[in-house]
């Protein structure tokens, strides 16, 4: 049987996961991870990738690769207190750009969640509402976010609002859709049981639908923040004055190649961190799910 698909085997003589506190649970899962070959394979994987980058660009100078910024150049630039192209860990500008992008994503994500989750919940809960509203929603959704750029620029007087709007739009569609699916895929036995037990409509909503759909909602939120970054970067590349997308674009225009890579890696890191934050928030709110999954991993 294929290795990766076999059930993982864990130690059996430890304290049972259901007796652990939240922190204990995390430490337990961490210890399991460290004892497996996984961390070491991971290092090998990174080494292969970075090694190839180094060799291809700087040592072997392969045909297309030699134009690219090499890994040593990038790292030197990134760490230098006086960078040739103006951006490194030591310059204030670097953090300005990061902060700008994060601030924009935060606004977009916040608005999208605050508007998208109730909208999605309502779509899932009320069939009538869905029949009236969903067709228009589905009509607008396939339009790629970037196709909205010129329209957004025309609609919003300030470029800043246009950029946030674009990130918001992408996020909103993802959040609303996933929330709706979460409500719809909830086993109807739960709502039936609740009405048997005498719960009124709002009680059912608060105690059954909302917590029941929460796992789906959080998956949607993780997708949504990814999509938000995607749109933000695109919008920043096309217009705008600060931000990581802007950095990447202008670095290219001004032939500052190492900075492009710095921008890309920073984006990757920040994107991952924000996504992880959402996931952690979800884990915190849904302890029952974490425990259920931990039990299944045994």
């Amino acid at each position: 049987m294929p290795d990766a698909l076999a059930q993982p085997r864990g130690p059996t003589d430890r304290a049972q996961p259901e007796e652990m506190s939240r922190l204990g649970l995390t430490m337990y899962r961490l210890s399991l991870w460290l004892q497996s070959p996984r961390p070491y394979l991971m290092v090998v994987g990174f080494a292969l990738f970075l090694g190839f980058w180094y060799l291809a660009v700087e040592v072997w100078r392969l045909p297309r690769f030699k134009e690219m910024p090499g890994i040593t150049t990038v790292i030197k630039e990134w760490l230098s207190p006086n960078p040739t192209y103006g951006l490194s860990f030591h310059t204030a500008e670097y953090y300005q750009h990061i902060g700008m992008s994060i601030w924009r994503v935060a606004q977009a994500f916040f608005l999208a969640t605050v508007l998208g989750v109730p909208f999605g919940l309502f779509l899932g809960w009320s069939r009538k509402f869905k029949e009236y509203v969903f067709p228009v929603f589905e009509l607008l959704r396939p339009i790629p976010i970037l196709a909205w750029v010129p329209l957004a620029i025309v609609m919003f007087i300030a470029t800043e609002s246009a950029i946030v709007f674009l990130a918001f739009l992408a996020s909103f569609f993802a959040t609303a859709l996933n929330t709706m699916l979460g409500v719809e895929s909830l086993d109807e036995s739960y709502t039936r049981a609740a009405s048997c037990l005498g719960a009124g409509k709002w009680q059912v909503f608060r105690h059954v639908i909302l917590p029941g759909a929460l796992p789906f909602i959080f998956t949607g939120l993780q997708i949504s923040i990814g999509v938000s970054w995607f749109s933000l970067v695109a919008a920043e590349m096309v217009s705008g004055q600060y931000g990581l997308g802007y950095v990447i674009n202008t670095s290219y225009m001004m032939v500052r190649y190492p900075t492009i890579v710095i921008g890309m890696i920073t984006l990757g890191f920040v994107g991952y961190a924000t996504s992880a934050l959402v996931r952690i928030a979800g884990d915190y709110l849904m302890e029952w799910r974490v425990r259920e999954l931990a039990l299944a991993e045994r």
Binding site: S195, C196, E292
Partner: protein
């Protein structure tokens, strides 16, 4: 065939929870495919009685249960609870309520609430008990059912047998007239099942409610029930109704008793016949 049941033995008589199913018909999609699920079914269940409904998968027994519970409507006929109309031709759908609580096939304990929170859900939502009193009562009932110690666990953390019991306690907290059980032990292994049967009986002896129990297991039916109704394949109606005259309180010793074996002999043919018909018709799991 006398549809009236004798008084259930083993405790004071119960006066509420009498269900009268009178000539009920249920047709799905009347203007389209017109599938008849229930065909002029009549059944009289006495107050406080355990009535077992046995039949092959997909025959329509769950439809009956759903009609009583208020999840589906009926096409014609009447269902009465203690003389009051639950649903009829003029009022095809009953209102779900805490007087008839369902225990679902795959379990419907809320996974995001602790066992205790699940158990006190009913009274707290209806405003019948304050949180404090509900918790006290809940703990007591759980202890009675052998569930002391798992109050603060989540349903996902305890065994499926325990989950069933928690669900039953959750229902009983509301002092219902009727408990509707839809093949609750179907997913359990037979060892756990036999223990669950005794547990259920014990809970029943303490809280007299009418029990409407759907199963496909004839032995389970005769072991638990006062009355066993064997249903035909779809569309369903009672093919044979049996009164089980083994006295309550019962224990697993009953399973090897002579009377038990006799009753199985009487009914086995009827059940097997319907099962064969269903098999040939290729019924999907209902």
């Amino acid at each position: 065939m006398d549809l009236r049941a004798p008084e259930p033995r083993g405790g004071p008589a119960v006066t509420r929870g009498r269900i009268l199913i009178d000539d009920v018909v249920k047709i799905y999609d009347p203007e389209g495919a017109a599938v008849m699920a229930v065909d002029h079914c009549s059944l009289d269940i006495a107050a406080g009685e355990i009535c077992m409904i046995v039949g092959p998968s997909g025959c329509g027994k769950t439809t009956l249960l759903n009609a009583i519970a208020g999840f589906h409507d009926i096409t014609s006929g009447t269902i009465l609870l203690d003389g009051e109309v639950l649903c009829s031709k003029d009022k095809p759908k009953a209102e779900p309520g805490p007087d008839r609580i369902v225990v679902f096939q795959n379990g419907a304990l809320f996974p995001w609430k602790t066992n205790l929170d699940n158990v006190v859900f009913g009274p707290v939502m209806q405003g019948k008990l304050g949180r404090r009193e509900a918790v006290d009562k809940g703990r007591a009932m759980m202890a009675d059912a052998g569930l002391a110690g798992v109050e603060l666990n989540y349903p996902g953390e305890v065994s499926s047998g325990m989950r069933r019991r928690v669900e039953i306690v959750r229902a009983l907290m509301n002092d219902p007239k009727v408990l509707l059980l839809d093949e609750p032990y179907r997913a359990l292994d037979s060892l756990t099942k036999s223990v669950m049967h005794e547990a259920l009986l014990e809970i029943y002896y303490r809280n007299k409610v009418t029990i409407f129990f759907i199963t496909h297991d004839l032995e389970e039916a005769i072991f638990l029930g006062h009355k066993v109704a064997i249903m035909t394949t779809r569309p369903c109606k009672p093919k044979k109704v049996l009164t089980v005259d083994i006295p309550h309180p019962r224990d697993y010793g009953v399973l090897t008793s002579k009377r038990f074996r006799e009753l199985i002999e009487e009914t086995n043919d009827a059940v097997h016949e319907e099962a064969l018909k269903a098999f040939q018709a290729g019924e999907k799991e209902g």
